[in-house]
């Protein structure tokens, strides 16, 4: 019982970081799999507007989720398999590098389309 986690309080809406401490995403929702014994097992963390939309609720939340689905070309949200998770504390730490889980399509798009075009984007601030 000492390792029990209250999902809403201690897992949802927490920051996910990779094994170097770099930001990955937020825990926007959690995937539960129904097994043969009828019990629900946590199999993955879900991220992105596809997962956050339904949590915002109402027409607005649906609009967020459906707009994202149209732009991303799929309905399945970003998924971080539980097998990648190393620990859950103040943040959720992954055992892998963030490029392995690859849930940041928007960041990559923004970087490649817009930010990379501006001079100085590769330079560390001085």
């Amino acid at each position: 019982m000492s390792d029990a986690i209250d999902a809403n309080l201690e897992l949802l809406d927490r920051q996910i970081v990779d094994h170097d401490g770099a930001m990955v995403a937020k825990v926007d929702d959690v995937e539960l799999e129904e097994r043969d014994d009828g019990r629900l097992h946590v199999t993955a963390l879900l991220t992105g507007p596809g997962a956050l939309g339904p949590r915002l609720g109402g027409a607005f939340g649906n609009m967020v989720a459906s707009t994202w689905a149209r732009l991303a070309g799929r309905t399945e949200p970003g998924r971080v398999s539980w097998s990648s998770v190393a620990s859950v504390g103040i943040v959720v730490t992954l055992a892998v590098d963030r490029t392995t889980v690859a849930v940041d399509g928007f960041e990559v798009w923004m970087r490649d389309r817009i930010i990379a075009a501006i001079p100085g984007s590769k330079v560390l601030p001085k």
Binding site: D13, G57, K122, V123
Partner: protein, 410 residues
């Protein structure tokens, strides 16, 4: 020796950084109409911001979580989103006001119409946010902002009736022609100017930029507990100058020039030049802080990489938001709207956004799984709880007062 220097630098930064366009305009306006009868609000605001800045600083030093992370985590995504929209709107409004303030300071210094300065100031702020290191930003503008101490010097030079000043301040003696609702409207505005939400976003995000750890807590505390009060003293000296020069002459504050007028009267051209330098530094520094804070809040809500310690291409969404905000701020200002008016709205709306921002901080500062032995003691909790009630009252009173007094013009 180096440590002493670092502490001193931090304190100086806090003083110079405490006074932004909102504080400049609101304190001068209040001084010109109410004398020092609202000085108690500045004191109240300074204590309040010190309490919550210390708490959010302690939280980030111990847990590595900045304020907006905590807002979403404790309020949930729905209420957290309401807070995000509200905070971003207020911070964006403040950002717009600050960029306008830089343009006004340049106008004062060069006599070139501020409107023409807008594209350049917006671009300059953005370039600094794109390229400059966080430390450099804080220190440079913080130190230059000390030029505003000229207001203290000017007040001394003006040789006012100190006894009378003290009397109006300590008894909150409102000048009789001013109506009570207007008095309270300006109390809320002044409170909002002292406790603007972006200050805690910036402070706690800065803690991550500067890689604080629990060992940083004493330094952080001395920055807060000495810097903010000295900054508050600066605010009051601006109000006092206005009380001594503008109030008897019935001059209303409608421009930055009027804010500086008492200094010109007391110290001539040189004093005025120093004041303008101070205005420029304070507004430029605050523009950088608010511009970054718009990015910080949305990035921390959505879990993006953010900050100045990584290359811009590694925080692409964050920098896109900062760029977009700068463009938006410039466009709003190019509609010829008066930056002073934007400022007046930004401080009042700041007061409204306070409760949802401070409540999560107070809670997390008490959470043992976050804070371990650094969690709130009795003093922090007592003050924090009292202030929660005060900010709630100010937040609820803001809009009714704004309507009733027609934005303080009655």
């Amino acid at each position: 020796m180096k440590k002493l220097f670092a502490v001193a630098l931090g304190i100086l930064t806090a003083i110079g950084g405490f006074v932004d366009i909102g504080d400049l305009v609101t304190n001068a306006t209040v001084g010109s109409r109410f004398g020092l009868s609202l000085a108690w609000v500045v004191v109240l605001g300074v204590v309040g911001i010190a309490v919550f800045a210390e708490m959010s600083g302690r939280v980030v030093a111990v847990s590595g979580r900045p304020t907006f992370d905590i807002v979403r985590e404790r309020l949930g995504p729905r209420v957290g989103l309401v807070n995000l929209f509200g905070s971003m709107a207020v911070t964006l409004l403040t950002y717009t006001a600050e960029i306008g303030g830089i343009a006004l300071a340049l106008e004062l210094g060069t006599s070139v119409w501020s409107y023409f300065w807008i594209p350049f100031t917006a671009a300059a702020v953005w370039v600094v946010l794109w390229r400059a290191k966080f430390n450099l930003l804080e220190n440079a503008f913080g130190l230059l902002g000390l030029a505003l101490l000229v207001f203290g010097v000017a007040l001394w030079q003006l040789g006012p009736d100190w006894g009378q000043l003290w009397h109006t301040a300590s008894t909150a003696a409102k000048p009789s022609p001013e109506p009570w609702p207007t008095y309270w409207y300006y109390a809320v505005a002044l409170f909002g100017a002292a406790m603007t939400p972006y200050e805690v976003f910036f402070f706690s995000s800065g803690g991550i930029e500067e890689k604080w750890s629990p060992a940083s807590i004493p330094t952080m505390r001395s920055n807060v507990l000495i810097g903010f009060p000295l900054g508050g003293t600066l605010s009051i000296s601006i109000a006092a100058c206005a009380a001594v020069v503008l109030l008897p002459a019935g001059i209303e504050v409608e421009s930055l020039g009027q804010v500086a007028l008492p200094v010109a009267v007391a110290l001539g051209q040189l004093g005025l030049a120093v004041a303008i330098l101070g205005f420029f530094a304070a507004t430029f520094g605050a523009a950088c802080a608010t511009g970054l804070s718009v990015g910080y809040s949305i990035a921390q809500y959505l879990g993006w990489t953010w900050g100045k310690s990584v290359r811009p291409r590694d925080a692409a969404r964050f920098h896109a938001v900062v760029l977009l905000s700068t463009l938006l701020a410039a466009l709003v200002l190019l509609t010829t709207i008066d930056p002073i008016l934007v400022t007046e709205f930004s401080v009042v709306f700041s007061a409204i956004a306070l409760p949802l921002t401070y409540l999560p901080i107070l809670i997390v500062a008490n959470d043992p799984s976050y804070m371990g032995r650094h969690k709130n003691g009795a003093l922090a909790n007592t003050l924090g709880s009292i202030y929660l009630v005060i900010v709630l009252a100010a937040s609820l009173a803001a809009i009714p007062l704004m309507i009733w007094t027609k934005v303080g013009t009655t």
